[in-house]
């Protein structure tokens, strides 16, 4: 309600919206909004709920099917693993089973008692563990070739004691087979539902049970009231919101819509790193991963294509200024490397072993001249991760110095994965998280001639060293074998490694118990609580 003068000069009442009322309304609204946002935040803390921002949409939550980063981030809290990786010791620890290696080909697992499946599916027994091993073999799930390749089969030895027979000794069995590939799923539920239904309605024994999933928006997990770890989980509900854009993730964190976010835009990190942003804490740990570039080699690419010439690949590796990638793409939140073995892994050697952090363009030009290649077009594929597309731009500029004209081809995650696995590309720039702390996981799949993602580098000697490394239990001997492998990789450059990227999280500073881990797809929330 406001007043104005009529043509006679007398004051009359008007119900129209005047500038004053508009400004007053805006001011009141602004104050209300600015006070309401923290209230929402406090309300979530008071309601004992937690909101986590994923930077993509899960494709499914069934661990018998391949789940990408976002699916794994959720399933980490739905399923327990047979063995859990201890990030501090770089070793695997019993989680759902106690395990011992009776002889090189026999592992004996004792199932933890008193563990219950979600939603009334009963107590975990040796039947479920047997099912987890034998279903992989019988159905040929993705684990068969990646984590369960040495497994012949599992049998029941006595009540809640399972014997797993291998066809070859495998030193990384606890970390790879029972860790990465060892999610404990419910036999009865999986048989009842089948793979597709189970992927949308998972049943596990983890700290949270699945509640609902709205595609493109969020996944909600509720507290598992019967969780076997005492007092855990602390929060009653976790909502995973899909927020792809890092700036939107950050504003959602600052306005209280979410509580934890991974992968802030590196350009924003500095203000949180120095603690100048009240209410937000920052965690950063060295990642078990690498950014890399690789090539399809003959017969998966024409024999006369320049990247089949080892000197051209070496020239590319010399032309890369890895330090600039770390500075410009990751704002220093990464470690330069020229090889695939991160710090803390067996056989790690400080980088650079061969290729300097700042690159060596003149050496690269010499090698191009030696190869007799003056320049060529190279199509480089990458997935939809925006930081990798920027990295591609940087690498493109670096390679233009030696006459290579890079054509970047960005793809959605599904198309990219298909092209990568089927070797339908010339070159690829991507990042990979190493699935276990065993050095085998950083090398075998990529450089063995039978590896799932080798792209034509059929080096028999390297394959023998890698196989021997799996069989060998003596760390010193394994170290030598893996040094040999890395030296061969650095010499032939089937893959070119750039850096290990830190795992960075921003979260509310009144959250306790969150511990950033080095693997992007593993984010346990059972120990997180509001203070």
């Amino acid at each position: 309600m406001s007043s104005k003068r009529d043509f006679k000069g007398t004051r009359t009442k008007s119900r129209g919206l005047t500038r004053r009322t508009a400004l007053q309304s805006a001011a009141v609204g602004g104050v209300a909004l600015s006070t309401a946002l923290p209230i929402f935040n406090i309300a979530r803390a008071q309601d004992n709920k937690l909101a986590y921002a994923m930077f993509g949409e899960p494709t499914g939550l069934n661990e018998f099917m391949y789940t990408e980063i976002h699916g794994s981030v959720v399933t980490t809290n739905i399923y327990d693993k047979m063995a859990r990786i201890n990030y501090d010791t770089h070793q695997s620890e019993p989680e759902i089973v106690e395990f011992k290696n009776e002889d090189p080909l026999t592992w004996v697992l004792k199932v933890r008692e008193g563990v219950k499946f979600h939603k009334g599916y009963g107590e975990l027994t040796d039947e479920d563990i047997l099912y987890c091993f034998n279903h992989v073999q019988e159905a040929g799930t993705f684990q068969k070739g990646i984590t369960h390749f040495p497994v012949v089969g599992a049998t029941r030895r006595s009540k809640n004691v399972v014997e797993v027979k291998l066809n070859t000794p495998f030193s990384a069995f606890p970390m790879v087979t029972m860790g990465y590939g060892g999610s404990v799923m419910c036999k009865a539920a999986h048989q009842e539902m089948g793979d597709q239904e189970y992927a949308r309605n998972p049943i596990g024994t983890g700290p949270f049970e699945f509640d609902s999933w709205v595609s493109g928006s969020h996944v909600i997990l509720k507290k598992n009231q019967n969780y076997w770890r005492e007092n855990q989980p602390y929060v009653d509900e976790v909502i995973y919101r899909t927020i792809v854009d890092p700036s939107v993730r950050l504003s959602s964190l600052l306005t209280g819509e979410i509580d934890i976010m991974p992968r802030p835009d590196p350009k924003d990190i500095a203000r949180f790193r120095d603690g100048s942003e009240p209410g937000i804490s920052y965690q950063s740990v060295p990642g078990w991963n690498w950014d890399y570039m690789d090539f399809t080699l003959a017969p998966h690419s024409p024999a006369d294509f320049p990247t089949n010439n080892v000197d051209v690949r070496r020239a590319i590796s010399y032309a890369i200024d890895r330090q600039t990638i770390v500075d410009e793409i990751y704002a220093g939140e990464a470690l330069v490397t020229d090889n695939p073995v991160p710090p803390g892994y067996l056989g790690h050697r400080p980088s650079p072993i061969v290729y300097p952090a700042r690159g060596d363009v003149s050496k690269a030009k010499e090698l191009m001249a030696k190869a007799g290649v003056s320049g060529f077009d190279l199509e480089v594929i990458t997935s939809d991760k925006e930081w990798l597309r920027r990295e591609c731009e940087l690498v493109s500029a670096m390679l233009s110095e030696i006459g290579i004209n890079v054509k970047i081809k960005g793809m959605d995650a599904g198309t990219y994965g298909s092209a990568w696995f089927t070797k339908q590309f010339q070159a690829d720039l991507e990042d990979i998280t190493i699935v276990s702390p065993d050095v085998d996981s950083a090398l075998w799949w990529f450089h063995h001639k039978d590896g799932m993602v080798e792209h034509g580098w059929q080096n028999t000697q390297v394959s023998e060293w890698l196989d021997e490394g799996r069989r060998e239990l003596d760390p010193a001997k394994r170290t030598n074998l893996y040094h040999n492998v890395v030296d061969a990789v650095l010499d032939d450059c089937p893959y070119i490694y750039f850096n290990h990227v830190n795992q960075v999280y921003l979260l509310k500073d009144n959250l306790d118990g969150f511990k950033a881990g080095p693997q992007e797809h593993i984010v346990p929330l059972g120990a997180v609580r509001w203070t």
Partner: protein, 300 residues
């Protein structure tokens, strides 16, 4: 039989005989030149086109060359429109981005008008099953919002400049087909077409000499409007990461990257936005001028 002049030819030929100052082309040109905004549009688009063609000679920088020491520099004498997060000169990228936008606009109208117009004319002229088949197909394409359809096609073809031209061109084919068909349907009933039919003129001759010359005016207007829409659609696709791939300069792509620096480097968002808006606005002015000049119904 010696009488083979169509009635459409008669007025223009009469005009030539009576005096060239009354030729339809001259009348249209005169009408167009009276539309001041359209003339401004032509001048500015011509300047933009020339700048795009001679871009490598207009600035001393390369659009993709890194200059990390100068990254995120605000506009200065050295970098009149500032630099981006890799130190690349924004002015250089704007000029090279114009090449992409104009190329896409041109390619799109060639595909859309080149395929859509004949389809519409054939559909409207022959009618029957052929008409139904073509137009239902066109209707099916028109049910999708242009951006959604372009995204779907790009998803299949993969991101690339040529694929942007192809996908956006396909999106606008039905627009040309519908317009051409509608005009052909009314022309088919006209006296001079009936006369040509009665005189035994073959269908191709009637289409080429009687129908096409009479719909070319509205098609030209649509070309101008579609050109500007194609520029926007290309920018949208590139903004979404589906269009032109980095490091190639593209207004839409650069605008997307600028979002990261909206609080720190205003120039990164401002200039691509201005270039997109200015080119689209000027093409629309030209379209308005052409409509006034070539579409008699619009004049009324």
């Amino acid at each position: 039989m010696t009488v083979n002049k169509s009635p459409t030819q008669s007025p223009s030929e009469e005009g030539v005989e009576l005096g060239s100052s009354h030729s339809p082309l001259r009348l249209a040109a005169g009408q167009f030149l009276r539309h001041r905004l359209a003339v401004v549009g032509v001048v500015l688009i011509a300047l933009l086109s020339l700048s795009a063609v001679f871009a490598p000679y207009l600035t001393p920088y390369e659009p993709t060359k890194l200059n990390l020491q100068a990254k995120l520099s605000p506009p200065t004498w050295e970098f009149p429109l500032g630099t981006d997060h890799f130190g690349r000169d924004v002015l250089t990228r704007m000029l090279h981005g114009a090449r992409i936008s104009l190329l896409v606009g041109l390619g799109v109208v060639i595909i859309a008008a080149g395929i859509g117009t004949p389809l519409g004319v054939i559909s409207g002229f022959f009618g029957g099953v052929l008409d139904n088949t073509i137009m239902r197909l066109m209707d099916a394409l028109l049910t999708f919002p242009p951006l959604l359809l372009a995204v779907a096609i790009m998803g299949t073809l993969g991101p690339d400049t040529q694929n942007v031209i192809l996908s956006v061109g396909l999106v606008y084919i039905p627009v040309f087909a519908r317009l051409a068909r509608g005009n052909t349907l009314s022309l088919r009933e006209s006296t001079y077409v009936s006369a040509s039919v009665a005189l035994g003129a073959p269908n191709w001759r009637i289409i080429v000499l009687d129908v096409l010359p009479n719909i070319i005016g509205v098609i030209v207007v649509l070309v101008a409007v579609t050109f500007s829409k194609a520029v926007i659609l290309e920018a949208s696709l590139s903004f979404l990461g589906l269009g032109v791939q980095p490091p190639t300069a593209s207004w839409g792509r650069d605008l997307n990257e600028a979002r990261r620096y909206i609080e720190d480097a205003w120039w990164l968002a401002a200039f691509p936005t201005f270039m997109i808006a200015a080119s689209v606005l000027n093409m629309n002015f030209i379209g308005d001028g052409l409509r006034d000049a070539l579409d008699p119904r619009a004049n009324k």
